[in-house]
């Protein structure tokens, strides 16, 4: 399943140029099959048994002299499974909303599928070296997707994204190597059960190196400035993937690596996590208030919302960690949808300046309604997905770090401000003659993407347990490690 999108990408790449319009069909079919597999995994996953399931293990490099082995080891637990589901869902959505890409479509869809493979790989590999390989593999399609199909200062943004992330992950690689050689294994399951006492380097430094890679990716203040640039200049589908899935690699990494493998250091660092989480929330939210570009607004709101993941993780309890994991999923779905809607507005109006847009509800009722739904979900309205996650984060963290949690709650208030104000200015207000010709989302691919996302958001909002059950199974061993 992990490599299936890669096969699809290869097929598209080999497609003769005169059939290049068909690459979108192949891409859609491929990612739809992957989504089907993901749903199948959800059904087949045994929640009562927990732990890692669907294990595929093959030795890859065995080096007797150095007494370690690298292996091809893929499996999912509840947490990984949720992330796989998110990846599969958003990949399909991203491909659907790119239906009309006419610039070099073959490459475009091939890169999107490569991206999907690398993301699935990150969330399923349990060999540290494979984890890192997939983690880095993701940069290749991202660089091309932003710099070729983006808008604005796309090359600058792509470089910034690439360099920033590599900077973080190079430190992470050092951390991975030190940790693995100290423990004598690259097997992430064994690592997360080992008690590492004497490492080559002091463990707090190792923790910092690993964490830094994740902090850049999350992104944590003050390492977040690549995000608004990359999100804003990326094409719609890539913004969806970037905000929806790529940021989640960081939260996943924190749970899977930082907390599981170095629990004592994580406990020491948790107060900083809470503090930076609160800063992320409030700082991101206040800056979001004054953004004038729709996409930049959604991008900065992501910075704010990822702060909740940090706050949830800092709680180190089962509720807080589950909340953080749920927030990762719901933020992926909600912000993904926001980017889809903003992209649709941009496709039609060719501007994202909030000041220029007005009264769009008259021309695009469906898009406006979906925007309102996504916006309300983003600001944490009960019955929508965001609420369930934020409540769990707050409940989990309040007892441990009261002040950061309170600041986080204030962040919800500000998010209501920027979301509602944006909807008021863009969709309501005076009908402008300039936008009379704009049409609504009428094609099947647009409507499928919108309806699917709305359905997922509502489903999780009303029955959070459909997802929380899986997350709890995955998070429980991690919570036990850090308690």
């Amino acid at each position: 399943m992990v490599f299936f999108p890669l096969a699809g990408a290869a097929l598209i790449a080999l497609l003769p140029s005169r059939y290049e319009r068909n690459s979108r069909v192949i891409a859609t079919a491929t990612s739809a099959i992957v989504l089907g597999c993901a749903i199948g995994l959800f059904i087949a996953f045994d929640k009562d048994q927990g732990g890692f399931q669907f294990i595929q293990r093959k030795p890859w490099i065995e080096a007797d002299i150095a007494s370690f082995e690298l292996q091809y080891l893929l499996a999912v637990d509840g947490l990984g499974l949720a992330m796989v589901g998110l990846t599969a869902l958003l990949s399909l959505v991203a491909i659907l909303v790119s239906w009309n890409v006419t610039l070099r479509p073959k490459e475009y869809f091939a890169w999107l599928l490569v991206l999907e493979t690398s993301l699935l790989g990150v969330f399923t590999s349990l060999d540290f070296i494979f984890f890192f390989l997939f983690w880095e593999l993701e940069l290749v399609p991202m660089y091309f997707l932003i710099s070729i199909w983006g808008t604005g200062r796309k090359v600058y943004s792509a470089w910034k994204y690439l360099l920033y992330t590599i900077f973080g992950s190079s430190l992470m690689l050092v951390g991975i190597l030190v940790l693995s050689f100290s423990a004598g294994t690259f097997d992430m399951i064994e690592l997360s059960q080992a008690q590492i006492q004497d490492a080559i380097w002091p463990l707090p430094i190792v923790f910092f190196f690993l964490f830094f890679g994740f902090a850049v990716k999350l992104p944590m203040f003050p390492f977040h400035t690549w995000l608004p640039d990359a999100h804003t200049d990326a094409p719609t589908a890539v913004s969806v993937m970037l905000a929806g899935v790529l940021l989640k690699m960081a939260g996943y990494g924190m749970l899977r690596v930082s907390l599981s493998m170095l629990p004592e250091q994580a406990i020491d660092a948790s107060v900083w996590l809470a503090a930076f989480g609160a800063v992320n929330v409030i700082y991101g939210a206040i800056i979001t208030l004054v953004q004038t570009d729709l996409k930049r607004l959604v991008a900065y709101s992501s910075v704010s919302h990822m702060g909740y993941v940090l706050i949830g993780i800092s709680a180190l309890g089962e509720v807080g960690l589950t909340g953080a994991a749920l927030q990762m999923f719901t933020h992926g779905a909600i912000t993904g949808l926001l980017f889809v809607v903003v992209g649709m507005v941009y496709d039609r109006a060719h501007t994202r300046e909030i000041r220029e847009l007005s009264g769009l509800v008259h021309n695009m009722p469906v898009i406006a309604v979906v925007m309102v739904i996504a916006g309300l979900a983003a600001l944490g309205l009960p019955s929508m997905a965001g609420f369930a996650a934020e409540v769990m984060v707050f409940l989990g963290a309040f007892g441990k770090y009261g002040l950061p949690t309170v600041i986080g709650v204030i962040g919800v208030l500000i998010s209501a401000g920027y979301i509602l104000w944006m909807i008021m200015r863009v969709f309501l207000g005076e009908r402008s003659a300039r936008w009379q010709e704009l049409g609504d989302a009428t094609t099947w691919w647009e409507r499928t993407a919108l309806a699917g996302m709305v359905a997922v958001i509502m489903l999780i909002g009303i029955f959070p347990s459909v997802l929380v059950d899986f997350l709890e199974v995955g998070v429980a061993p991690i919570a036990a490690r850090v308690s």
Partner: protein
């Protein structure tokens, strides 16, 4: 102490909102500010320990205030406007709306024996038992209440009809339907029926606590120590007479200004000059919140400042690092010139330095 603060906040809210209700000209705004005022009244009641009275007033208020809003809607349906200056004389055209509206107004004004009288009286009595001065606050608010609602009644329903909204939707519709052009008309039964029912409730719900019905009902829900404290139904003739008297005089003053025009509203407005301007602008609260705090302070300074900080300091550091790297690298580029002589000279200098270093550490 804390509880007196609650009473003070409630009392201030009640009077503060009542003054605004006296000057605004939009009928729905009067009713809305009246709601703020009455809710202040209830908080005031909680502050003086009148838990039962507060809830009882909330209960009664629901009926007559709903009726007032429906009445405003009915009037709007007929005239196409919410501006009372464009109404007048509607009693003739809309007898049912008029009657029910008057019942609700009298109830709100605390006129015996309508529901508002009973609960308002209880609140003032509780205040009287708690602290005399607080009772006066309640009485002042009661007078203002009947003044503003009396103003609505006389401006809307008495005098000459001022023609409603000049080219409104409602009148156009009326014109196209019946042809009886600009004449306001009574609303249909579907609108009147709820008003009649609510009017009945506004009259009778006040009797619910005469035999301590509400008190018993609520005592089960109150914490034990408060339940004992909650005063039983008590009737003080003096208070009742004074509060009803003030209520009536409020209506009389309203009648004198807006009904009989014994006093000119314009003259009064001029007499109060700056005070009127202040109140008419709702004490500039909206300006304070929207312009000063929201636009100037939060958006203008805090948010813009942070956005600036983000772009030029946080991101500036990142870009600065990139530029420094590039500058450093292009500086280093000149080292690799490819000239053997230069490399030779560098090796020579390096060897001397190493030799010196060794000699310093290990003197011969």
């Amino acid at each position: 102490m804390a509880i007196n603060t609650v009473a003070a906040i409630g009392g201030i809210t009640a009077i503060f909102a009542a003054t605004i209700a006296i000057v605004v000209t939009d009928i729905k705004r009067v009713v809305a500010y009246s709601t703020i005022s009455q809710l202040g009244y209830m908080i005031f009641a909680l502050g003086v320990g009148g838990y039962v009275a507060a809830i009882f007033h909330l209960f009664n208020h629901a009926f007559f205030k709903a009726l007032l809003f429906l009445g405003s809607g009915s009037v709007n349906h007929a005239t196409g406007t919410f501006d009372m200056r464009r109404m007048g004389g509607l009693a003739r055209y809309m007898p049912v709306t008029f009657t029910t509206f008057v019942i609700a107004s009298l109830s709100l004004g605390g006129i015996f024996p309508l529901s508002g009288f009973w609960s308002k009286d209880e609140i003032i009595l509780d205040a009287w038992n708690e602290k005399r001065i607080l009772a006066y606050v309640g009485l002042v608010a009661a007078f203002m209440t009947s003044l503003y609602i009396g103003r609505v009644v006389f401006m809307t329903f008495t005098g000459e009809y001022k023609g409603g909204e000049p080219s409104s939707h409602a009148t156009e519709e009326a014109a196209s339907h019946g042809g009886h052009s600009r004449q306001p008309h009574e609303s249909p039964v579907a609108m009147l029926l709820p008003m009649v029912i609510l009017a009945g409730a506004s009259i009778f719900t006040g009797f619910a606590n005469i035999s301590d019905g509400v008190t018993h009902f609520l005592n089960n829900s109150l914490p034990a120590e408060l339940a004992e404290e909650a005063h039983h139904f008590d009737f003080n003739l003096g208070i009742a007479v004074v509060s009803t008297g003030l209520g009536v005089s409020g209506f009389v003053v309203a009648w004198a200004i807006y009904g009989a025009r014994l006093l000119s509203a314009d003259r009064l407005r001029q007499a109060f000059g700056p005070v009127h301007t202040l109140v008419e602008n709702k004490y500039y609260m909206d300006h304070l919140y929207e312009d000063l705090i929201l636009r100037r302070l939060i958006l203008g300074n805090v948010a813009r400042g942070l956005a600036f900080f983000d772009r030029y300091v946080v991101d500036g550091a990142v870009n600065g690092l990139a530029m420094a790297t590039r500058a450093g690298s292009s500086g280093m580029r000149y080292v690799q010139s490819g000239q053997v002589q230069l490399y030779g000279a560098a090796i020579f200098v390096g060897v001397i330095f190493i030799a010196l270093g060794i000699m310093l550490v290990n003197p011969p």
